[in-house]
Amino acid sequence: METSFVFNSPDDVQASLEKVDYISSKTITTAVFLADRLKKPVLIEGPAGTGKTELAKSVAASTGSRLIRLQCYEGLDEAKALYEWNYKKQLLRIQAQNLVTDADNETWKQLEEDIFSEEFLLTRPLLEAIMSAEQTVLLIDEVDRIEIETEALLLEILSDFQVSIPELGTLQAKRMPLVFLTSNNSRELSEALKRRCLFLHIDYPDMIREKNIIKRRVPEIEAALLEQIGEFVRSIRQMDLKKKPSVSESIDWAKTLITLGIHTLDTEVANDTISVLLKYQSDIDTAIKELAVHS
C-alpha cells in the first residue's frame, strides 16, 4: 500500500479548494489537511446547506481523484454498501458445469472455488473505494440515516481501510482513499464511529466568507448588492428562527435579485423576496415584523 500525501500544507488545501470555487475556512482546511496526513476519515456535521457534501466533491475535483459516493438511507445493508455475490451468474456457472459433466466431488470443489472468486463479486461503493487503483475520495453521505447497528459495517473500513469477505479473505486498500462522512445530526452517532474519525463542524459562514462564496457562484453580481446581501443575511441569522437561511439559500437569493434586475436592496424588495431565504411561514412573519422596526 502506498502512503503518499495529497496536500503539502494547510494553505495548499485552501488554494486547491479555491481553484474549484470552494471557499474554505481555517477549520475546514485544517481538518482536510489532517485527514490526509493522519489517514483518517473526516466526520462532517453542521446545519443543512452549509456545503458539507460539496466539500467532499470539491476535494475530489481539486485533486483529480475519483469520487465514490455512498448515499445512506434506512435499511442500507451489506449487500448495498460493501459487496454482494452475483447469485445469477453463480447459478449460471453451476448449471453450465452440470451440462458438461456429472458433478463428482473433485469438480464440485473446484467449482466452489471458482464461483467464490472476484469474478462473481459485485462491488458496492465501499469495496469499490478500497479496490480502486487510482486516488479516490469516498463520500459516505448522511451517515446518520442508517441504523446504529449498520454503522458497524463501516468500522472496519474506516479504521483499517480493509474489507473482510469470509469466502475470499481480507482485501486491503490499494491506495488510501480520503474518506468524508456527512451527518445532519438527526441522531447521535456511535462512539465507536466518532472515535475513528476527525471531527469537523461546518457552521454558517461569517460575512466575509459568505460574500466570497456568493461572488464565486454568482460572478455577475455587483459589489454594492453583494455587500448588502451579506449584511442582510447576517442580520437575519441573528433572529430567533426555526430554520436560518443557509449558504445555498443566500446564493439562490442573490440569483433571484439579479434576475429581477435589482441593483440596491430596500425593505420592500427584501419583504417581497424573503421567501427565497426562509422556508417557514412563521419565520417569514417574524423576519418581516422585525425588519419593520427601527433598531
Binding site: 485544517t30 496526513r37 427601527h294 433598531s295
Partner: protein, 479 residues
C-alpha cells in the same frame, strides 16, 4: 507530562470524553511541522479531540487558558528573546504578558478615562486590530484593578472594566458613526439595521479582547489549573434542571427541539427494527423465480408498530415546577412517537391540561395559561400526592388503560398528607407501566416529608432525573 496530555486531562475533568486513541491522534497531528500557528493548533486539537459541537465552547475556554491568547500583532522586539522553537511551552503566549506589563507601567499614567474611551472609539471605527488589542490591555490595566491572590472569577473584573469605558454608550456612538459612513441613497431602515449589527459585532469583539486579557492576567496570578477550575461550568447535559440559572434554563430550552428530533428518530428506528416480521412466503417464492427457483433471498413481512400511550401526571408546585415544565415540553415535542398523550397537572387538586398544549403555540404561553386557568389547587396549594391521585381516578376513571404508560413527575414530598398508595397500586395493575421521575438527588429521598418508598413498590421504576442526560436516557427506553 507534556502540555497536550495535561490539556486532555483537563478536558476529561470537564466531562468531555477523550479516548486514549484520540489523544494519540492529537499528538500525531502536532508532529507535522506544518501546524505552526496558534489557530492551526487550535483547529487541529479540536478536530482530533472534540467530537461533539456542544463541547466546543468548553474546549475554547480551556484552550485559551492552556495555550494563551492569540498574539495577532507581530512585535519583533520581544519574539527574539523568546525562542519560538524551544518546545511546546513557547506556545504559551508568554510575551503577551511582558508587553502588557510594559504598557500598563508606561503610558497609563498620563491618560485620562475620556482619552482612553476616545481612543477605543477610533480604533473600533477604523477597525484597527492591533491598536484595539493594545487598548484593551490598557483598559484592563487602568480600570479592572485586579487584586492579586483574590479568588474571584474574571466576571467581576470584566464588569468593572466595561462599566468604566461605558461600553453601551460606546456602542451607540459607534453605530451612529457607522451609519454616517453609509450610502445615503439606500433604504434608511436597512442602513440603520446593518450599522447596528456591525456596531454590536465590533463591540463584542472588544469585550472578548478585554475578557482574554483579564484571563491572561489571572492565569499569571494563580496558574492554569486553578483558573480552569474557576471557569468550570457544567456541560449542558449535566446541568441540574431544578437549580438551573436563567441563562442555563434558556440554553436547556434551546436544546429541546434538537434533542426531541434525535430521540424521535431513535425511537422510531428501534421500533421498526426491534423484531423481524414473519416470513412472507409468497413474496419469497416470487423473488426466487428470477434465480431459477433457488430461495436465495427470504422476504419478511413488516412488523406491526405499536406506539405507547402516555399519561403524564405532573406536580406543578413551586419546588419542582421547572422540572415538570421541562419534561412536559420534551414529551410533547416527541408527540409523534406516541399514540396519544394525556397530561394532568396537580398540586393538591388535579386538572387535565392536555388541551393547553397545542403544538403551534409557544410552550411558555401554555404554562402561563395553565397556571392561571387550570384547576390544580384544592385546599392550601401545598403538594398533596394522595389527594391528587384520589381525585385523578375519581374524575378520569377511563384515562388509564392496559396500553398506557403512566409517568409521574414529582419529588414525592407530600407535606405529611396521607399518601393513598393503594390508588397507585390500582393504577399500576390497570396500566402497562408506571414510572416515577424524581428530580431530587437520590440521597434526599425518604428524608423529611418525602415518601418515595410508599409509592416505589407500585412503580416499574423510580428514577432520579435531574439532568438532560438522565432524561434522555429515560425517554429512550420508554415504551
Amino acid at each position: 507530562m507534556d502540555l497536550i496530555t495535561e490539556f486532555v486531562a483537563e478536558l476529561r475533568q470537564y466531562g468531555i470524553p477523550v479516548s486514549l486513541g484520540e489523544s494519540i491522534d492529537a499528538h500525531e497531528a502536532l508532529i507535522s511541522e506544518l501546524i505552526d500557528d496558534r489557530e492551526l493548533l487550535k483547529e487541529a486539537l479540536a478536530a482530533t479531540l472534540i467530537k461533539n459541537d456542544t463541547h466546543r465552547e468548553a474546549f475554547e475556554s480551556l484552550f485559551n487558558i492552556y495555550f494563551g491568547v492569540s498574539v495577532e500583532h507581530g512585535d519583533t522586539e520581544d519574539s527574539e528573546d523568546n525562542n519560538k522553537y524551544e518546545g511546546e511551552d513557547s506556545l504559551l503566549a508568554g510575551n503577551t504578558v511582558a508587553k502588557s506589563a510594559k504598557l500598563s507601567g508606561g503610558s497609563s499614567g498620563s491618560l485620562t478615562q475620556e482619552e482612553v474611551i476616545e481612543m477605543l472609539f477610533n480604533a473600533l471605527l477604523n477597525g484597527e486590530k492591533d491598536r484595539l488589542n493594545q487598548l484593551a490591555k490598557l483598559a484592563v490595566s487602568m480600570f479592572a484593578s485586579i487584586e492579586p491572590g483574590r479568588p474571584v472569577g474574571g466576571v467581576y473584573y470584566l464588569y468593572r472594566t466595561l462599566r468604566n469605558i461605558d461600553i453601551e454608550a460606546l456602542q451607540a456612538k459607534l453605530k451612529n458613526a457607522l451609519l454616517k459612513q453609509r450610502d445615503k441613497n439606500t433604504d434608511e431602515n436597512l442602513n440603520e439595521r446593518f450599522a447596528s449589527d456591525e456596531a454590536t459585532l465590533r463591540t463584542e469583539k472588544l469585550k472578548k479582547l478585554i475578557e482574554d486579557e483579564i484571563r491572561q492576567r489571572l492565569i499569571e496570578d494563580r496558574g492554569k489549573q486553578a483558573m480552569a477550575k474557576t471557569l468550570k461550568k457544567p456541560l449542558l447535559e449535566d446541568i441540574d434542571i431544578m437549580r438551573a440559572s436563567r441563562q442555563e434554563m434558556f440554553d436547556l430550552q434551546q436544546a429541546i427541539v434538537p434533542l426531541s428530533r434525535k430521540l424521535a428518530s431513535r425511537l422510531a428506528n428501534r421500533r421498526r427494527h426491534l423484531r423481524q416480521g414473519r416470513l412472507n412466503w409468497p413474496a419469497t417464492i416470487r423473488k426466487s423465480m428470477a434465480l431459477g427457483g433457488s430461495l436465495a433471498e427470504p422476504i419478511f413481512k413488516k412488523p406491526k408498530i405499536s406506539k405507547p400511550d402516555i399519561i403524564l401526571l405532573a406536580d406543578l408546585s413551586g419546588s419542582v415546577a421547572s422540572f415538570a415544565r421541562f419534561t412536559l415540553q420534551l414529551v410533547y415535542a416527541l408527540s409523534s412517537q406516541f399514540t396519544k398523550i394525556r397530561s394532568f397537572a396537580f398540586i393538591d387538586g388535579i386538572d387535565e391540561i392536555t388541551s393547553y398544549f397545542d403544538l403551534t403555540t409557544d410552550p411558555m404561553k401554555s404554562f402561563y395559561k395553565i397556571n392561571t386557568e387550570a384547576d390544580i389547587m384544592w385546599l392550601d396549594g401545598h403538594s398533596d400526592y394522595g389527594h391528587a391521585l384520589t381525585d385523578f381516578v375519581k374524575k378520569w376513571p377511563e384515562a388509564v388503560t392496559p396500553k398506557s404508560s403512566v409517568l409521574i413527575l414529582g419529588d414525592a414530598r407530600s407535606n405529611y398528607h396521607n399518601p393513598h398508595s393503594d390508588i397507585l397500586k390500582q393504577l399500576s395493575k390497570k396500566s402497562k407501566h408506571v414510572y416515577w421521575l424524581n428530580p431530587e438527588p437520590k440521597a434526599y429521598w425518604d428524608s423529611g416529608d418525602s415518601i418515595v418508598k410508599e409509592y416505589a413498590p407500585f412503580c416499574d421504576e423510580v428514577l432520579e432525573v435531574r439532568t438532560l442526560k438522565q432524561l434522555e436516557l429515560f425517554v429512550d427506553k420508554l415504551d
